[in-house]
């Protein structure tokens, strides 16, 4: 049973913000890629930037790294301005682009060493760290293998190692799970969440896969057509989505009786009851399930009624709004619009 909406009050406000975006805007000729984005991410957080293709996720990330200049608005990463101090930011922030590329005719360790040397890590230290990281991401056997022979999942894991070799404070991953099989995704996400917990690294990852983001993110931002339309953890997003204010309780019980139906329908706060009707109850020991649409969370009250009516309660749950529902609600139509005007 997950009924604790109240706990979702942002704990983050007390923490030091490491990424601060204020009214960040990027326009391309006529099209607005990012529109007045306000976002604060605090140190050690795992934040998921969620949105359909072409929502402006990558543009936002590029602006954070100073690889693209914002049209207006400001960004602060580790207290630095990406427009003017891009180099210092790049020293502190690890970025893995979507579809990360490596020099294919070089070995895994060569590729990592290049990154290490570009970050002015002395070579002895760099080699040690590269080997350590390759072991960490599970590429120990492929250290001296050319990257050209790597599978998609291996590349992605090498990308993680590549990002981590400079010991970043912030890691930005653009679509890290794109094109990997489910098992690979699971491993990769576990790796990411382990890292952020252990090394206290702030992680910003963008994705359009809800379930994956759901698994590891502390908070999620929904990004559609250049605007952040909702942010928070999954529960508070569900709450934001739930503008009708109804709670759905699903229950299954053995021994339905007319009394029980009566009790449930008359429970104060129940808007509608979908379940076995009294004429359907042939004998008393029928097992059936029902759905209650309530104005507030009535799961415990409903459970009490079932017990009191003498029936056996098999299962009860308050239906969570999954990210799927959220996704559909927010992204419907949005994606269609984006596709017709594909980005430059």
């Amino acid at each position: 049973m997950e009924t604790s909406i109240q706990e979702a009050v942002p704990v983050t406000e007390q923490l030091e913000p490491i990424i601060e975006l204020k009214r960040l805007t990027k326009r391309y000729d006529t099209q607005v890629a990012v529109n007045g984005l306000n976002l604060t991410i605090s140190r050690g957080e795992v934040f998921g930037l969620l949105g359909p293709n072409g929502a402006g996720k990558t543009t936002t990330i590029l602006m954070m790294l100073g690889l693209t200049e914002p049209t207006s608005g400001s960004a602060r990463i580790c207290g630095l301005d990406p427009v003017r101090q891009a180099l210092q930011i790049k020293r502190r922030v690890g970025y893995m682009p979507d579809d990360v590329g490596f020099y294919e005719d070089r070995t895994a360790i060569d590729n990592l060493m290049l990154t290490a040397r570009l970050n002015r890590i002395p070579s002895a230290e760099g080699i040690a760290r590269a080997q350590e990281l390759l072991e960490l991401v599970g590429l120990k056997d492929a250290v001296n293998k050319k990257v050209g022979a790597f599978s998609r999942g291996m590349r992605q894991r090498l990308g993680i190692a590549d990002v981590l070799i400079k010991r970043p404070e912030v890691v930005i991953l653009d679509e890290p799970t794109l094109g990997i099989d489910p098992e690979g995704v699971r491993e990769l996400l576990k790796l990411i969440s382990d890292l952020s917990r252990k090394e206290k690294i702030t992680v910003l990852l963008s994705s359009h896969h809800l379930h994956q983001v759901q698994q590891i993110c502390d908070r999620v931002g929904l990004f559609v057509r250049g605007e952040l339309i909702a942010s928070g953890d999954i529960e508070s997003l569900a709450e934001q989505l739930d503008d009708e204010g109804t709670v759905t309780v699903e229950l299954e019980a053995e021994g339905w009786s007319e009394d029980l139906i009566h009790r449930l329908t008359n429970l104060s706060g129940v808007i509608s009851y979908h379940g076995p009707q009294s004429h359907e109850l042939v004998h008393n020991s029928i097992t059936a399930s029902a759905t209650l649409i309530c104005s507030r969370d009535l799961s415990s009250e409903a459970a009490l009624e079932i017990i009191q009516s003498g029936a056996r309660l098999n299962a009860i749950s308050r239906k969570q709004y999954g990210l799927d529902d959220i996704y559909h609600r927010y992204f419907e139509g949005g994606e269609r619009g984006e596709r017709s005007s594909s980005k430059s």
Binding site: E16, L67, D98, D99, G101, L114, I121, P122, K166
Partner: protein, 350 residues
């Protein structure tokens, strides 16, 4: 909180007005840790990549063959010339680079013809391949300056070109020494070294042009084709075009001298817009000390002149504008590449 201790530092750095410039800051950090600067790391990487690539091996093989062929023809031509007492014995050593018995072109011709091809081959996919493979965005998210990236590409390839040209040049000199047994004077050695320098600059121009195309065009094939098209245009068609214009606009042969001279100078100017022409002028001055002027001379100007070879300094002086022109063309290409590249957005997939 432990961040409280750290924050005044960066706050101070951000808000004080007299903060050192970014470059200066980077230099300060450079001195604190003794490591290779990212620029040279990139140069090393590029250099290594070229050395390993098949493309480079093939190019080297073609050019080495061409040069050895040319030296063979030059040596036979010289031997025949000396036997028949026809050859000009002055600067015999330099003639190895400029003389041929007619079966194969000379060393200079080979360099002026194949050099641009080397430049284009080394540069045409410098930036677009990195972009298409997704390495560009990964590289640029490292703490490096964006202009350092293209500069490193250029530097590495130019270094390679210099190494190749100088080793070929010295190889030819050594072989010549063996076969004709005629030692060069210090002046001749200097002239060869200078010629190789001009050749490097010339190839550098084509290299830069190729890098410019590789920034402009997303497809490596498009960029290679445009480079080759321009190369063909300048080496073959441009002189033909100028020839047509010359004929069409030529004043009557009986016109006044000033009109004839003006026309000749105009045509020369038109010719000199081609880097290939500039290169041929500069090399012929350097390798043939007998060349006294690159423009038209009137009889009045020639009167009283003693027909003797120019000294090294005079030859350099004569070819100086050509050299400057080549360097300027290279710089212009680099400037355009710089502007294009700084404005381009770095996305892994276009």
């Amino acid at each position: 909180m432990n961040e409280a201790a750290a924050s005044p530092n960066w706050l101070k750095r951000i808000f004080t007005g007299n903060q050192p410039s970014l470059r200066k800051q980077a230099r300060l950090e450079k001195t604190s840790v003794r490591t290779t600067s990212p620029f040279w790391v990139m140069v090393q990487k590029e250099f290594g990549d070229h050395m390993r690539s098949w493309r480079f091996i093939i190019l080297i093989a073609i050019i080495a063959l061409a040069c050895i062929g040319s030296i063979y023809t030059a040596v036979t031509a010289l031997r025949d010339g000396v036997k028949s007492q026809q050859a000009d014995n002055n600067f015999l050593f330099l003639q190895m680079f400029t003389v041929s018995d007619g079966t194969l072109p000379t060393f200079v011709t080979f360099v002026s013809f194949l050099g641009p091809l080397v430049g284009i081959a080394l540069g045409f996919d410098a930036v677009n391949t990195e972009r298409n493979k997704g390495t560009l965005s990964r590289l640029l998210s490292q703490p490096i300056y964006r202009d350092d990236f293209i500069l490193a590409k250029f530097t590495a390839s130019l270094l390679l070109v210099a190494v190749v040209l100088y080793s070929l040049g010295f190889l030819v000199m050594g072989l010549g020494l063996f076969t004709i047994g005629y030692p060069p004077t210090p002046e001749e050695v200097m002239r060869v070294i200078l010629f190789l320098f001009v050749a490097t600059v010339y190839v550098g121009f084509w290299l830069n042009l190729a890098i410019l195309f590789s920034i402009r065009f997303r497809q490596a094939a498009t960029s290679a084709l445009s480079g080759i098209a321009l190369w063909l245009f300048f080496t073959i068609f441009y002189s033909m075009l100028v020839g047509i214009i010359e004929k069409a606009t030529a004043p009557d042969a009986s016109s006044a001298l000033s009109i004839l001279l003006r026309h000749a100078n105009r045509m020369l100017l038109l010719n000199r817009l081609s880097p290939a022409y500039l290169f041929s002028e500069a090399t012929s001055t350097l390798l043939t000390p007998g060349v006294r002027s690159l423009g038209p001379l009137t009889t009045a100007q020639v009167i009283g002149a003693i027909s003797s070879p120019l000294s090294l300094m005079q030859s350099i002086l004569l070819s100086w504008p050509q050299l400057v022109g080549l360097i300027a063309a290279t710089m212009i290409c680099f400037g355009i590449s710089y502007v294009l590249f700084m404005r381009q957005e770095v996305r892994s997939k276009g």
